[in-house]
Symmetry: C2
Subunit: 430 residues, 2 copies
């Protein structure tokens, strides 16, 4: 990998998400060598991926070059690589570009879509966890309408204009809301020769309420907002399969659709070599102690989605979202320096800053610790918080410009099929 060994201890961070970046930044100017490895050369601001899928934003405004994260820090090395295996006994990792030894290893690999072993779903459903996936979904949505124009078979046309989103968490709610706004504001203008009133957005939730990690109040209001926008909300429905044509559920209910978006679960993105049964927690996460140390491996740490730190307040681990990752990354940065200096480590205490989700223009729900609110103000708070946490000044300006434009013009101009996903949709032709 051509990374020189210096006298400073080497800290290898796998993953440039919220946690990995927060950690790397804390370590800058410290007497350590930092090696950041990611399979992409950019950080992805995942909370806004749904806006890429729905043509509201371009990828570059929610991505940030990882090489820029620690610019000017001499002992920082970035490598674009996939980590294949961890070898704790030799304190080294195997990657797509060679082996590397470490003094301390931090897994900040995040999470990946969980299809719960259903290979049919995995094959036919669209996921939305990465930028290429989001762009594929954008292409497919647009291709579906182009295709719907051409068919005289109304079953096929309906299926092409029917969107089934599985999973009523923030991702599902936000995507459903955005699609509903496209249906209302853009489709009739873009496709005057298509009866776009027949477009359907179905949001399918397994439990008995949407946003079930948030307050009842937020759930009720989000559902109300979605129904106002024309989204069909299905609760207590468990999807069992999708053959590319028909979505089946545990009951008689089925959906005929060309597009199923799977936002119904994530699991930790583990790496071989550190996946022994005793350290794997629920959801494929790694059991860590209060210092984010992986159980049994004093030099290996895990932060963010991949880490499962069981506390009294969070007996199943912290929620898999940005805040725990950022807070753990920052503390671990300090703790690693303490560890190297032979000092005692600080235990992690999660400061819950609340959670929020947006449904559409002027419509969002916010749960803060002592204050729950919904509607226009919540929507402004949502925008402010997302702009604040977005990395990079230019990104903030470009996202802001796009949001203002989209708001005023009821528009989303990035409705471009740059790389066609599946141009000739013929599954319904037999």
């Amino acid at each position: 990998m051509n990374i020189p060994r210096t006298s400073a201890p080497r800290i290898v961070i796998i993953g440039g998400g919220f946690g990995g970046i927060a950690l790397a930044q804390k370590l800058s100017k410290k007497e350590v060598q930092v090696v950041l490895i990611d399979k992409n050369n950019y950080h992805t601001f995942q909370p806004l991926l749904y806006q890429v899928s729905t043509g509201g934003l371009e990828p570059d405004s929610i991505a940030y070059p990882l090489r820029k994260v620690l610019i000017g820090y001499d002992n920082f090395f970035f490598r674009l690589a996939e980590v294949k295996k961890i070898l704790p006994e030799s304190k080294s990792i195997k990657t797509s570009i060679g082996e590397l030894t470490y003094d301390y290893l931090v897994l900040a690999t995040g999470s990946e879509t969980n299809f719960y072993g259903n290979t049919e779903l995995e094959k036919n459903a669209m996921a939305m966890k990465s930028i290429p996936q989001s762009l594929n979904l954008r292409s497919l949505i647009l291709e579906n309408f182009e295709q719907a124009l051409l068919t005289d078979d109304y079953h096929e046309r309906d299926a092409l204009m029917n969107f089934v989103i599985v999973g009523g968490g923030p991702t599902g709610v936000e995507l459903a809301g955005a699609l509903a706004e496209i249906k209302k504001g853009i489709l009739p203008k873009d496709y005057p020769d298509l009866d776009t009133r027949k477009a359907q957005i179905n949001l399918v939730q397994g439990s008995d309420r949407l946003l079930d990690a948030m307050s009842e109040q937020a759930s009720t209001k989000a559902e109300e907002f979605l129904e106002k926008l024309g989204v069909q909300v299905w609760k207590n429905v468990r999807v069992t399969g999708y053959n590319g044509k028909t979505v089946t559920t545990k009951t008689d209910l089925t959906f005929e659709t060309a597009t199923l978006v799977w936002a119904a679960g994530v699991k930790g993105a583990t790496i071989r070599g550190l996946d022994a049964e005793e350290i794997i927690a629920r959801g494929n996460r790694l059991n860590v102690n209060e210092f984010n140390q992986v159980m049994g491996f004093p030099e290996i740490f895990a932060i963010g989605d991949i880490a499962c730190m069981q506390t009294d307040e969070n007996p199943k681990g912290h929620p898999m979202m940005a805040q725990p990752a950022i807070q753990q990354g920052k503390l671990l940065g300090e703790n690693l320096v303490r560890l190297i200096d032979g000092k005692d480590l600080e235990p992690f205490v999660y400061r819950d800053k609340g959670s929020m989700a947006t449904v559409g223009r002027n419509k969002a729900v916010c749960d803060l610790k002592n204050f729950k609110f919904q509607g226009v103000f919540a929507w402004f708070v949502w925008m402010f918080v997302h702009l604040f946490f977005l990395i990079g000044f230019r990104n903030r300006v470009v996202v802001f410009v796009n949001w203002v434009y989209n708001y005023i013009k009821f528009d989303r101009e990035a409705r471009l099929i740059i790389r066609p996903y599946r141009r000739n949709y013929s599954q319904f032709k037999d």
Copy 2:
């Protein structure tokens, strides 16, 4: 294709470039049916493609959804399709989504990269005529540097950091300038562990001066600007081949490089059925009369790059750039109405608004009819003109924001490998 035949004559436009859009807009609100066909669902602002390749802009800010071009005009139809063949005898076209009859047909298909029959070049060189091609080049440039970090073979490393651009027209000059600025401003910061001084930018021109369609003054100054930026300019050099490793020329001169960009020629993008020898002019363009009528086909017209209208001032046809296309599109819009009304047509007269090219920050060359100038002022004029001709208000704002940011920060933040082009470059390993 599901397009109803109405009493209004049907005008089918193939291609949503500068010419096709100008024509369609002229025909809006007229008593005609307009069918616009393009293989993409967006218009591409080709003059700024090189900024996509070099991470300065994202595709959405230089693309514009074609469905938005004639929004609100009832008798306008857009279809995403590839036209396979023209059948003048039955006044119809064959496309990837079926057949369509026309009353008037307008070819606005533009041009494509001309490799002059050299299949080896075509296979191994990068072109930059479309957004996907530009994104591929962006990925490849970045992948090359990631790869260069990993190798201990200095031949391989040099080749990965060596860029050969063939063609000294505006595209080649602008790309070479942008790469030189990246070498100077970004590489040393992004790759502190790589000796990026060894990165080379070679611009190879077949004739004895750069920008040979512009004034001598512009050529001289552009070359001076490029050399100041550290670009190696090679004149009177004809590239004969590239096997993915070595560029050969007509003389002994060779280049070892992982990246050859071919910007050395374009040809008209003709369609089968309208390619009889007698109507094909030099550069694969279609011979048209002063009304842009294709010789021998009174209902078929060609505008822009694909049209070759020989005049006293332009005996080889008009230059293949935006202005002739826009002007011909506008006039043809009026002429088609005249034709339908049984009136006499107006002949086309080209108003040469001049030409320009930019080399880098504060460095551009402009040739207006009676005024030639270079440097900072030319650069401001270049930016103003490009913002003015860019389609869409949002695009203008986003491009402007990016330009201001890039100018102040000496930065280009879209250096993202979203879709890897060729991650493991091993051609040099044997």
